[in-house]
């Protein structure tokens, strides 16, 4: 498969490098508008406050640095879960490896199909949450994605889906540079679980826009693939209606550069959201950045941010979290915890947990701790006959478990736990 489809190899700017897809007029307009925004924002650089701890250069250079394929004998994620499977290879939908796009309670279309229809419900959602999420912080790489992504899924959930949809992103070319844009609209009282796994491409830029209507539930569990040299930037833009639930969990292991942005906005009262992440980084070249921005613009909503990072051999973990409570968002309960566990003295943990609060009847808190593994706990285990290495692994897994606990489904949490345990001793 030619991974350079849709790329202009002789360009010298990021915007020119990708070729804007052609679809229906409305879709072309949205893409053009996003391109104007991207050109207006400019390519992010380390001098931007929002990239203070992560150098975006590997995400913006053209062409991308190649990334070696990562082969292992592990079965793909979520194999044991009853699901509808869809496969993208280097960012391009591969129907031959996918199940039929049929899920009870849902309609699933490809972005290509949806954006070529003259009339489509996605017109009101495509790019709109991304655009909304550009304030007050600019996210140029998300605008680039809206403007240029040709691939992705457009999903409408009208009922409580019994099975999850599992998207697997396979990295198959050392030079692939993929943009994937998924849109999900969950209607009132509906429920949906999305599973994502895999490295996706040598450089993978994904945007997920999720509109969760009143009383609807969205569950999201993601693992990002262990390819050592992959570069990944993802954005989740979520809008929460009244009494809705939004839960997203991401496990990130290795990768040269990972930047995950989650931008959520509460627009209806009494809703709940969780964004959680467990990260294990091993080696000097690994850099993980979780950046979360949650806006409370409704009454009595609850948000949780739970991030745990285990770092060794020179890995760097970054957390930038923000809770913004607008003046009318009374009775907000905002919680944010970020913790780094440094297994040696070369690793780094950098955090900026922010609160910006304009309402008075709120309970917001954040905590952030960084430290080494607790020697007393190790001693306790060793004195009971557990070998030191094993004791350390147990404590690392226990540390990460607090983030994994944020996953509602036990089956999925177990799957993640088993995977992490197996990865303790291999890179």
């Amino acid at each position: 498969m030619n991974s350079l489809i849709g790329k202009n190899e002789i360009s010298d700017t990021l915007a020119d490098f990708f070729i804007q897809p052609n679809g229906a007029t409305w879709a072309n307009n949205i893409r053009s508008e996003a391109l104007v925004a991207f050109n207006d924002f400019g390519v992010p650089t380390k001098r931007d406050e929002y990239w203070k701890y992560t150098n975006p250069q590997k995400l913006t250079m053209i062409p991308t640095e190649p990334a070696a394929l990562f082969s292992n004998d592990e079965p793909p994620m979520f194999e044991s879960i009853d699901r509808v499977k869809i496969v993208f290879v280097d960012g391009i939908l591969d129907l031959s490896q996918s199940d039929d796009l049929i899920l009870e309670g849902a309609t699933i279309e490809t972005l290509v199909d949806a954006t070529s229809k003259d009339i489509h419900w996605a017109k009101d959602l495509f790019g709109s949450l991304e655009k909304n999420g550009q304030k007050p912080v600019k996210r140029p790489l998300a605008a680039l994605n809206t403007a240029m992504a040709a691939e992705g899924l457009v999903i409408r959930i009208t009922d409580k889906c019994k099975k999850p949809l599992a998207i697997r992103y396979i990295h198959n070319s050392e030079t692939s540079d993929a943009l994937v844009h998924n849109i999900i609209k969950i209607e009132s009282n509906a429920q949906f679980t999305l599973l994502e796994s895999g490295a996706g491409a040598a450089r993978f830029n994904s945007v997920l826009e999720v509109d969760v209507a009143d009383n609807a539930d969205f569950h999201h569990v993601r693992t990002q693939g262990r390819d050592h040299e992959r570069k990944t930037v993802t954005h989740i833009f979520g809008r929460l209606g009244k009494e809705s639930i939004f839960k997203s969990f991401t496990m990130t292991v290795n990768g040269t550069l990972t930047r995950n942005d989650a931008v959520l906005e509460f627009t209806g009262d009494n809703a709940r959201a969780t964004v959680a992440g467990a990260t294990a980084g091993d080696g000097e070249s690994f850099h993980h950045d979780d950046t979360v921005f949650i806006t409370h613009d409704a009454v009595n909503c609850e948000s949780r941010q739970v991030f745990k990072k285990v770092l060794r051999n020179g890995a760097t973990g970054v957390f930038q979290g923000k809770i913004l409570v607008k003046a009318d968002a009374q009775k907000t309960d905002g919680y944010q915890i970020s913790q780094g566990l440094l297994l040696d003295d070369n690793s780094n943990f950098l955090a900026k947990p922010e609160l910006e609060i304009y309402a008075d009847d709120v309970a917001c808190s954040h905590g952030s701790t960084v430290g080494a593994i607790d020697e007393d706990a190790i001693f306790y285990l060793v004195s009971r006959g557990v070998p030191r290495k094993q004791a350390q692994d147990m404590l690392v897994l226990a540390f990460l478990a607090e983030a994994i606990d944020e996953i509602d489904s036990n089956d999925l949490a177990d799957d993640i736990n088993d995977r992490l345990a197996a990865w303790m001793n291999r890179r």
Partner: protein, 501 residues
């Protein structure tokens, strides 16, 4: 109410005195003395003029001019969460001094214009040491405080010179120090806050007019608390003072700083630099009660307080403690920092920032851990009321060599009313796995149950809020020297008047 609070450690008298002022800015008067100004605006000539007025050595002028050159290239920072009209740096007087202080500078406090002394008396600052020296009995346990008073651009006088001299302590205005101890000043000035550290510090380097200089020789425990009192009086002036404190090996000193300004419609600029040098086993305790005029309830007037404060713990086991009570100023932009260079050095930061009406405060600290076994502690209490915005912004940085370094940070914000904002922006950078960093922050409103409890016992709402807020701040108030703690506690109550109901 008075009884309640009296139990808490504040004298009933103080509370009465504060109450009688009924919410007005207590220090809003201006003193009618003849003021000598430098021409309006800023230029190389003004820098030269300030240097000349202070009769400075040539190197100082060169240093100032270099800073001025750099400043011209710099841009005003805009990252703080404060919003104010653009400052016209050419519409400020950079030098103002009472005329009586100019030609024949008074040789002792007796010769100082009585009007100036009156001002400080009104402010409650005991400048006259005569009473004490004349043998008026000092009750046991009452500590003496040596005061350096700065009026607009110049130091008016420093008390207890003789006693300090006997102890070997140098405490004088920086303009005097430049004449009497130029080598010491030259050695240390700019060594903690470099000449062109940031926009406001660079401006200060170019135009600072006076300030305090303290030198504590090796092994000396300063026999009394030192204090500087800053007063902006003249209209349209900026105050740019520079404080330099050096604590040699094994010495210690406690330093207090207070500030007030008259009530004026036009905002005034205050850009100070404070440098602390702390050698092996030395200790500096630096306390500030900042009560500059905050502007009126519509945000008119007030002081723009852009201050750079930094302590450099150069020796092993050096210790610094910043305590600040920030109740005044229209805009505050201030981050007292600690560079923990020496092994086992310690930095502490205790802060109460109260913003009411249209006040905006963006304040916090930086703890830079470079040495082994260094420790830092941050306790920040932010209180927002009215339409005010209050931001804690801080950095804790553990460098790779800071083995076993420890930090504990606690930032609590309290919101009173639904038109104000409370924000927390901490930066945590850990590059060492033996270091341990703990950060906690909470934001909440005044607890209804606590208010109800107080109201039930006959307190009115305002008193109840003041009491709850005082409890919220207790950890920081306890870190202040006694006299300051009382003033601060009363200030907390007065700053919040009119914020409920």
């Amino acid at each position: 109410m008075t009884d309640m609070i009296a139990k808490d450690g504040v004298e009933a008298e103080t509370v009465e005195a504060v109450k009688s002022l009924s919410g007005k800015y207590k220090y809003g008067f201006s003193t009618d003395v003849e003021i000598e100004y430098a021409p309006l605006g800023l230029s190389e000539d003004i820098v030269r003029l300030i240097s000349e007025k202070n009769d400075e050595p040539e190197w100082m002028l060169e240093w100032r001019l270099q800073a001025f050159e750099r400043w011209k290239q710099m841009k005003e920072p805009d990252w703080a969460m404060v919003d104010y009209p653009k400052i016209d740096f050419q519409d400020i007087y950079y030098y103002a001094r009472p005329k009586s202080m100019s030609e024949d500078k008074p040789k002792s406090l007796d010769e100082v214009d009585p009007k100036l002394l009156e001002t400080y008396e009104k402010l409650g600052i005991p400048l006259k040491e005569q009473a004490l020296l004349a043998g008026v009995e000092v009750p046991d346990g009452d500590r003496k405080v040596a005061v350096d008073a700065v009026f607009d651009s110049v130091s008016v006088g420093t008390t207890f010179q003789k006693e300090l001299k006997n102890a070997g302590v140098i405490f004088m205005s920086i303009s005097e120090a430049l004449k009497e101890h130029p080598d010491l000043v030259k050695k240390y000035i700019g060594s903690v806050v470099p000449q062109s550290d940031n926009f406001y510090a660079t401006l200060n380097s170019a135009v600072f007019s006076d300030g305090s200089f303290v030198y504590i020789p090796e092994g000396v425990k300063c026999p009394m608390e030192l204090s500087t009192y800053f007063r902006i009086n003249a209209e349209n002036t900026g105050q740019f003072e520079r404080t330099l404190i050096i604590a040699e090996k094994g010495s210690s000193v406690s330093y207090l700083e207070g500030c007030t300004a008259p009530q004026r419609d036009v905002a005034q600029l205050h850009a100070a630099v404070v440098e602390l040098v702390i050698q092996e086993d030395a200790e500096i305790k630096y306390s500030t009660v900042q009560n500059w005029y905050p502007g009126d309830e519509n945000g008119k007037g007030g002081i723009y307080n852009f201050v750079t404060k930094r302590a450099d713990c150069r020796g092993d086991r050096a210790k610094v403690m910043w305590t600040q009570v920030e109740t005044g100023s229209a805009v505050t932009w201030k981050y007292p920092s600690c560079i923990l260079r020496g092994n086992e050095s310690q930095g502490e930061f205790y802060s109460i920032a109260i913003a009411n009406n249209m006040q905006q405060a963006d304040t916090g600290t930086k703890m830079i851990h470079l040495g082994k076994n260094t420790k830092s502690r941050i306790v920040s209490k932010g209180i927002s009321a009215g339409k005010a915005q209050n931001t804690y912004r801080g950095l804790v940085s553990m460098h790779p060599k800071a083995e076993n370094a420890r930090n504990y940070t606690q930032c609590d914000s309290l919101l009173i009313g639904d038109k104000c904002g409370a924000h927390t922006v901490p930066y945590i950078e850990v590059k060492n796995n033996t270091a341990r960093v703990e950060h906690e922050a909470t934001t909440s409103k005044v607890d209804d149950d606590q208010l109800f409890y107080c109201r039930q016992r006959g307190m009115d709402e305002e008193e109840a809020v003041a009491l709850v807020v005082n409890g919220f701040c207790k950890e920081v108030l306890q870190a202040l020297p006694m006299e300051f703690a009382m003033e601060a506690q009363a200030l907390v109550a007065i700053s919040l008047e009119g914020s409920v109901g």
